[in-house]
Subunit: 231 residues, 2 copies
């Protein structure tokens, strides 16, 4: 609550970057800071979609649960990501924290109240929505047309891209999600995820010092796996 926006991890995220200089305080003045423990929900699919959130720290999933218990993860949400934008009266996805989360919450109405004086803001919000759509289509393509190993290779490059924004350009990163989460993201079984990791390790494309610490030994090789252009 007391923290200023200047120090926020998400200060340069798509939404907040729309506001320059002192403008940011206007955005801050209508924001609420929320915290969610690991495993908790930032939002629930059947909740009325009144609020939108900008993640400051932590990681969460965007997921949908079916009546039969099966789960599909739509995206992994990192600091700076914006969630909750939605047509229709309800979120149709839940956001569950993989690690303790801090986020800024706005009443959608309040945010819209700033649109007339800050048209950039509206533009930004919808630019974000389009980018989410593009990412979702990428995933759709992968789920529909790639096999297990290709899916995992895609996943690793996807996560690599997400973390770069904050960790610099190291080849190693920590996976904040379990194998089950990865399986539910790619539409495969946990064991399949595990076997695919092992295969990429055997092929020398990655290294796992521990199960959740990944080193990309050969990004180009991974790209070729995804594109099915490897020997």
């Amino acid at each position: 609550m007391g923290l200023s926006c200047q120090a926020c991890l998400a200060r340069n995220s798509a939404l907040c970057s729309a506001m320059v200089g002192d403008e940011i305080e206007q955005l801050f003045s209508i924001a609420h800071r929320v915290k969610v423990d690991e495993g908790g929900f930032l939002l629930h699919e059947e909740d009325p979609s009144k609020y939108v959130y900008n993640l400051s720290s932590g990681v969460c999933t965007l997921e949908r649960l079916a009546s039969d218990g099966s789960r599909q993860i739509m995206a992994f949400v990192y600091p700076g990501d914006f969630i909750g934008i939605n047509s229709g009266p309800f979120y149709s996805v839940s956001a569950q924290a993989l690690a303790p989360v801090v986020a800024c919450r706005w009443h959608m109405k309040d945010l819209e109240g700033l649109y007339p004086t800050h048209p950039v803001l509206e533009r930004k919000v919808h630019e974000i929505a389009s980018r989410v759509l593009a990412a979702t289509m990428d995933q759709l393509f992968v789920l529909g047309r790639k096999n297990a190993v290709e899916k995992i290779a895609y996943f690793l490059l996807y996560i690599d891209g997400r973390q770069q924004k904050f960790d610099g350009h190291s080849d190693s990163f920590i996976l904040p999600m379990t194998r089950i989460d990865i399986a539910d993201y790619l539409g495969v079984a946990v064991e399949t995820v595990s076997r695919a990791f092992s295969q990429l390790k055997r092929r020398g494309l990655i290294e796992l010092s521990q199960a959740w610490v990944v080193t990309l030994k050969d990004r180009e090789g991974l790209r070729q796996v995804v594109e099915k252009t490897s020997p």
Copy 2:
């Protein structure tokens, strides 16, 4: 070209319905009418995303092609649907006509030029984008978590929903797409599509007077198949 908006099949589509009375002529004045033959492309994934389109008649696919020739169809586009909205400088999908298509085309810049005087329009455009995202997430869920028969049942209800808007509430409809298109939409093989159709026919849930003429005998049953709640 000479046709007025009043007679257009898409007159009540999300975008055009934003303009009431004579306003519609303003929208029309900056529109171009384009026609595309069956098999032709309304837009191509590597084209710069300068234009947006509102489909007046015909049907097309929204698809992405991979280097290895595999194809993923992201959506089937019906009259009244709006396509071409995109973050980034290029469309990242192509739109191919399944039947001769007529559409209204706007230069994105021209459309944005109307925003200041018609804020509803901007709101509408982004409402449309959100709905597309929701539909894409539905499909993602289906691709990731459903088996072949469930996918086909979902597909039939999806198409049923699309056509209702224009054909009233009959239980029969004509599929404008081939089995290959359906396969590429659901991420399965053509033969699998065929077998799933046959199974649903055997179970009495649908009827096929010809390969592309479907009658839904039991919508509720189909819904139960999708939800995995059938006996």
